[in-house]
Symmetry: C2
Subunit: 124 residues, 2 copies
């Protein structure tokens, strides 16, 4: 199916975690960089997805099954739909263990997004 490769995540080199782009403040983004980065921001640009993501990210052990986090005010298929989007954006990974499917955050992507938002140190 559509198990499209997302974001070429960073290899743990030393600092890495910058799969796509420099800080937003460093230089104007190219069209390609903007396309890539926007996909990640867009994934978090929905309140339901943000709650789901936060629920997974803050859950004990760093992972949660759908049943643990599906109380966000929308139907079960909608939850599933949003989790899929988050997965496609590279923010979450999933794994089935028996009856349940567990979701887990991809920390490197989180870090990469954080870097986008840093203020260029020597600027100003």
């Amino acid at each position: 199916m559509s198990n499209n490769k997302v974001l070429p995540l960073a290899e743990p080199d030393s600092d890495a975690a910058a799969p796509c782009c420099p800080p937003l403040t460093e230089r104007p983004f190219t069209a390609d960089e903007a396309e890539t980065a926007a996909r990640m921001f867009k994934a978090l640009g929905d309140p339901v997805r943000l709650r789901l993501f936060s629920a997974v990210a803050s859950h004990e052990g760093g992972e949660a099954c759908v049943c643990d986090i599906s109380d966000v005010g929308v139907s079960q298929p909608t939850v599933s739909h949003h989790l899929k989007k988050l997965k496609e954006a590279g923010l979450l990974t999933s794994e089935r263990r028996g009856t349940w499917v567990y979701y887990r955050v991809e920390p490197s992507v989180l870090a990469a997004m954080g870097k986008l938002l840093t203020i260029a140190p020597a600027a100003v």
Copy 2:
């Protein structure tokens, strides 16, 4: 002393800059928090807006007039529309000086978003 700091984002506690929410990893977001934070992420969730924002943020002096940044492949009214969205999201401010309108980034909001993406240091 190499920079092995895990996430050199904004200094903790250095400035407020967090008008909305704790880090995404700290605890599950409430509906209200998610609504607020999603608005900011959504503003950066469009490639054109991301390019415009990056162009302003990286422009010399920290500000740019529309004429400096409007070469992003869409019509001028569309540029204006996106700049308005960024302003409504609190990411940019604008000021008219003579013939031109200058846009400038709101650094505290940038920092606040960065904090959302930090990994909780010693959580759990």
